[in-house]
């Protein structure tokens, strides 16, 4: 039974499960609790050129079936990552993708250049959709022109697979998906967190020190599945589904609507053993439905009024 997938530009994963950026640190933190080699891949916490402090606390609050966060891209910076963390991480047999951030188009490109020059990086996820920083982030991801610029700049800066991460906070995600494809993206990650606000009514202040935050977790899954489905139908490059995945069934929703792979985020916090459960669940599903290859499930959605099931190439 084959669980292996390809997510563009020859980037092969042993299975379609990646851990989502910002929910698994730099990978090394969880090595004590999770067998990293069992993962299809790891997407690191977002990295800028230089270290970042991140936002004040409180940074995280729970909402109904969701998690609202405004960490603010605290990170060690790309150079420290390459120097200290990447070597340790490379010791594990899994694909390492780096989540690339920038305050400017140039910074994105520069971070990409640094990562393209060292061994051990399998691909770059371009974070143009973080709602928790004052500059960059969402600003790039909610304007198709800016999106195109950033992706194009990164594309020209590296030969590594380039995977822009789209924002759910847009009217029409297909516009952004196509802008990325045109700019030379190899795949798309759908989606980042939903811009949201939770109020402490006793103090009449936002619950998060930053104010607004990004909503994640099962609460956003139906929204994320819709967005991943629309994006997958709009472009030819592979789409990686993200949003509220905590079980094999959740992951299958994304695969069935057309995603080649998926990322597990908030669920990593709730249960470090979630990956094994999801992968076992996928194998069981393939078995029960007499599939031999996970790729047979990809895009198998039968949607009312739409021409039959899409099949992957």
């Amino acid at each position: 039974m084959n669980l292996g997938v390809e997510i563009g530009a020859g980037l092969r994963l042993k299975n379609p499960l990646l851990v989502a950026s910002g929910t698994f640190g730099y990978g090394v933190e969880s090595a004590a609790f999770v067998d990293l080699a069992s993962l299809g891949g790891i997407v690191t916490k977002g990295l800028y050129l230089t270290p970042r402090g991140g936002n004040e606390v409180p940074r995280i609050v729970e909402t109904p079936s969701g998690l609202l966060n405004a960490i603010g891209l605290q990170g060690v910076g790309v150079h420290a990552f390459v120097r200290e963390l990447l070597p340790r991480l490379s010791a594990h047999d899994t694909a390492i993708l780096v989540n690339v951030c920038g305050d400017s188009v140039d910074e994105y490109a520069e971070v990409a250049r640094v990562l393209g020059a060292v061994p051990g990086v399998a691909g770059l996820e371009i974070n143009i959709s973080c709602p928790n920083v004052k500059k960059g982030g969402l600003a790039f991801g909610s304007d198709p022109g800016m999106t195109h610029q950033v992706v194009r700049a990164v594309r020209e800066a590296t030969r590594l697979p380039v995977i822009p991460k789209l924002s759910p906070n847009v009217t029409d995600i297909t516009v952004f998906a196509r802008a990325c494809e045109e700019a030379g993206a190899d795949a798309l990650s759908c989606v980042n967190t939903v811009l949201a606000l939770s109020v402490d009514v006793e103090r009449r202040r936002p619950k998060l020190a930053f104010g607004t935050g990004g909503l994640s977790g099962p609460a956003i899954r139906p929204l994320a599945v819709r967005l991943a489905w629309q994006a997958a139908r709009a472009v030819k490059i592979p789409v990686i589904g993200i949003g509220g995945i905590a079980s094999a069934e959740d992951a299958l929703e994304f695969l069935i609507v057309g995603c080649r792979a998926f990322q597990v985020g908030t669920a990593n916090f709730a249960d470090p053993g979630v990956h094994g459960k999801i992968l076992a669940g996928l194998e069981d599903y393939l078995h029960r439905h007499r599939f031999t290859d996970i790729n047979q499930v990809v895009g198998s959605l039968e949607y009312p009024g739409l021409p039959g099931r899409q099949q992957p190439p």
Partner: protein, 266 residues
């Protein structure tokens, strides 16, 4: 270690308090005082995340440990409703434990509310090292001080203090500590676990008296593994140019009170 831990025993205490004993051999074997576990009632669909609880006692033979639970919201309520045999998702032991006092200093364990929990195991550890710990246990009123007995059993002297004077000295627990220092003039080492204002007061007292203090902070924790970065606290380490965010779950929850930047917390 991440395991489904069955509840093997429970003791309901007055008010919102209970002691829950879970079977989790790795925690029982490795846990040190000041460390914690991330717990969630397995069947419960909500809340989403696990919650941090200090390890109160361990039974190395039986492979069990206990927590002292105060019900304050959905996560603690779901745990409080567990019946013996039901499972909790349990990750641990986590975090940095208390370290023993410098030679010649009397360990004073200062607790507020459920902050008493880690001092049970810590008292056992200190006694095993031939130390004579002394516990100061503060709360709003007598009803908050429900975990005194175990310390009598351990032969550890416990001084209660309540804001309303309904049990022990009236006023803040730090007042009782000061009174004790006045009376004994012995060099002491403080260990504190409880509400943030109490920890700050202990830090201040430690500074005045020039004695070391280890404080167990309780920021909001989302994962316990150092990956969510939700639990960060501002720490100023000697030799570092400026304060840095450090994860209370991996570099704490126990910190040297002098390193904690007390202003940072809203």
């Amino acid at each position: 270690m991440n395991l489904a831990a069955p509840l093997v025993a429970r003791k309901d205490l007055p008010g919102p308090y209970a002691v829950l004993e879970f079977r989790h051999p790795p925690v029982a074997a490795e846990a040190r005082a000041g460390q914690f576990v991330m717990l969630k009632a397995e069947a419960a669909l909500a809340p989403l995340l696990r919650r941090p609880f200090s390890i109160m006692t361990v039974d190395r033979e039986a492979g069990t440990f206990s927590v002292f639970l105060k019900t304050v919201g959905p996560g603690s309520r779901a745990l409080a409703q567990l019946t013996v045999g039901e499972m909790a998702a349990c990750l641990g032991p986590l975090g940095r434990p208390f370290s023993p006092p410098p030679a010649g200093r009397e360990p004073l364990l200062i607790a507020g509310g459920f902050g008493i929990a880690p001092f049970h195991l810590f008292s056992e550890e200190l006694r095993a090292q031939g130390q004579k710990p002394r516990v100061f246990y503060g709360g709003r009123t007598a009803a908050d001080l429900v975990l005194g007995e175990p310390f009598d059993a351990l032969g550890v002297p416990l001084t209660p203090a309540t804001d309303d004077g309904s049990l022990g000295a009236k006023g803040l627990v730090t007042g009782a500590v000061e009174a004790y220092l006045e009376e004994t003039h012995r060099p002491a080492a403080f260990y504190a676990c409880g509400p943030h204002p109490m920890l700050r007061a202990v830090a201040r007292l430690a500074q005045e008296r020039g004695c070391p203090a280890q404080v167990s902070l309780d920021p909001w924790m989302g994962c316990g593994m150092g990956t969510c970065l939700g639990c960060v606290v501002r720490i100023q380490r000697p030799g570092e140019a400026s304060p840095a965010w450090r994860c209370a779950c991996t570099e704490g929850p126990v910190f040297d009170s002098r390193e904690v930047v007390w202003e940072a917390r809203p």
